[in-house]
């Protein structure tokens, strides 16, 4: 796992705890790009530095701010890991981690406790991203298929041929030009619509 490529923003108003946590994260090979004590103007800050992971105390009032931001900027998902104080026992921590995006680090300054939690956050981050990528791909494919259908229809009309014939024409064009079917379809639409 290449943790070093992930940038962590730490938000904590307790300087001592923050310092210890930063130390632990660094010895574990994570990159803490910034530590904020006060969260005034948080959203502008996050927009500027674009961290991959934000570590924030469960009880920080700015948690709603972060959720608002991810509701507005869906393109920049940044998982948030929370660490809470004494009230969480190990059962709760386990439940929290299993529940999804957020994770607890209670008495979180022990390196052996931090590692699996950050790793789980990273894993979630990556799963989320691969899901997004798949979704994007499906969307592109769908858009491509629509284009291909449209191109086929135009070809059928223009060349008075049947659907199979139109599809073969497209495929041949694609092979000749070493381009994807979707790209060729888009070109065909452009040309035929210009002619019409």
């Amino acid at each position: 796992m290449t943790q070093s490529s992930l940038d962590i923003l730490l938000i904590d108003d307790e300087p001592q705890r923050a310092e210890a946590l930063i130390g632990t994260l660094r010895t574990q090979g994570y990159r803490v790009i910034e530590h904020l004590c006060s969260t005034e103007g948080l959203s502008g800050h996050v927009d500027r530095i674009r961290p991959d992971i934000i570590l924030i105390d469960m009880d920080n009032p700015d948690r709603d701010t972060l959720e608002s931001m991810s509701a507005v900027h869906r393109d920049h998902p940044r998982p948030v890991v929370f660490f809470a104080e004494a009230e969480s026992d190990s059962q709760t921590i386990k439940a929290a981690i299993q529940a999804g995006v957020s994770a607890y680090i209670a008495d979180g300054l022990k390196p052996d406790r931090i590692r699996p939690i950050i790793d789980s956050a990273i894993a979630q981050f990556e799963t989320y991203h691969s899901l997004r990528r798949e979704l994007e791909q499906t969307r592109t494919e769908l858009a491509g298929r629509k284009q291909i259908d449209r191109a086929k229809a135009l070809l059928m009309k223009h060349q008075s041929c049947d659907e199979d014939q139109a599809y073969r024409t497209l495929r041949k064009l694609a092979m000749d030009r070493n381009q994807k079917l979707g790209v060729v379809a888009a070109d065909v639409i452009k040309v035929l619509e210009a002619l019409a």
């Binding site: 959720e67 931001m69 709760t92």
Partner: protein, 346 residues
């Protein structure tokens, strides 16, 4: 002694039903042993319900539905046992920004006139107006969007949005980081009292029938604790009734000002009495009305429309919500069962 229940609240005036139910012994009368836990954010309330750190909580009205649909968080099937309040939100602008709108509107102060003034000012401002809300799945957010839309302003393209916690709103306004916000009380009245803001539109002039806060638990908890659910509903309903009968608002404020409830943030209101304003109609925060307290799926349908308009919900999710989820999320059945024998007089 009954098993202890831990209920979360956010320090806003409309946590009053929970505070009153505890301080007036209404939970105890129902055989409940309740501790109230002050929470710093709505996100934290939702997560703590999820992890079993809280049994129930005050929530923004749209939250049980948003959590059930998994909007912005892992899906957590939740339900509203009762609506707690309405008409406690308002849209407030900074004093210079308000003056700008006021002059443009030729001294008219209705929300409609000030909204049109804002639209006319868009081109002269040289930048987008900056507005803040606390949380995306909230009536504050929907109310502000609704006022802008009705004024002919596109909330998605013509406004610069910020997210700020309630207690930091006034400072942001005073420092001119934002032009205005929509938030619950006391953060509108306090801005007026401190001379940093003026109220453009109280919630009841825009959407008078809409509950703002609810009392919520997870669907799993409701399933496992039917008796506690009924007892909680009864105690909170009595508390809402108590507040409506409370002639001495000062006494109520003093109760709310107890730590850990709202403590020192309320002192300015205590000193001056709870009234204002220049121009706008006063806020009429309301806690008791059997129609409003009953968590009906109709309230849910309104929320689904707002979520759709705000782009938070896909059409498919909206249909799912309307067809299947609303009766699971808005438990009017549990509310009616629990309150059938009591029905305090309106």
């Amino acid at each position: 002694m009954a098993e202890q229940l831990k209920l979360g609240f956010v320090p806003l005036l409309d946590c009053a039903p929970l505070v009153v139910a505890r301080e007036q012994g209404l939970f105890r009368e129902q055989g409940l042993n309740v501790v109230l836990s002050r929470e710093a954010s709505w996100s934290s309330i939702r997560d703590k319900l999820n992890y079993g750190l809280l049994d129930g909580a005050q929530m923004l009205a749209p939250m049980p539905l948003a959590a059930t649909l998994g909007l912005g968080s892992p899906a957590l099937p939740s339900c509203s046992l009762m609506s707690l309040s309405r008409n406690g939100n308002a849209i407030t602008c900074s004093v210079p920004f308000y003056q700008r709108l006021y002059e443009q509107a030729d001294g008219e102060t209705s929300p409609t006139a000030l909204g049109s003034a804002l639209r006319q000012q868009l081109s002269q401002l040289g930048r987008k107006p900056v507005f803040a809300t606390v949380y995306p799945y909230s009536n504050h957010h929907y109310l502000l969007r609704d006022w802008l839309s009705r004024s002919g302003i596109n909330p998605d393209t013509e406004i610069d949005w910020r997210a700020i916690p309630p207690a930091q709103m006034i400072t942001a306004l005073a420092q001119r980081r934002i032009d205005g916000y929509c938030v619950g009380e006391p953060w509108n009245s306090l801005a007026v009292l401190q001379g940093h803001g003026l109220i453009v539109a109280p919630g009841q002039q825009l959407c008078p029938e809409v509950p703002e806060k609810v009392f919520a638990v997870t669907q799993a908890w409701a399933e496992q604790h039917p008796e506690s659910c009924a007892a909680l509903i009864r105690a909170l309903y009595q508390a809402c009734h108590w507040i409506s009968q409370c002639r001495d608002k000062q006494a109520l404020l003093e109760l709310l000002a107890l730590p850990p409830y709202l403590d020192h943030s309320l002192l300015p209101l205590l000193e001056t009495g709870y009234q204002h304003h220049w121009g706008s109609a006063p806020l009429h925060q309301q806690f008791f009305d059997p129609q409003m307290n009953a968590p009906s799926p109709l309230q849910g349908q309104w929320l689904v429309r707002q979520m759709l308009a705000a782009g938070q919900l896909s059409a498919a999710d909206a249909e799912l919500a309307n067809r299947r989820l609303l009766p699971q999320v808005f438990r009017i059945d549990l509310f009616e069962q629990a309150t059938r024998a009591m029905m305090p007089q309106a």
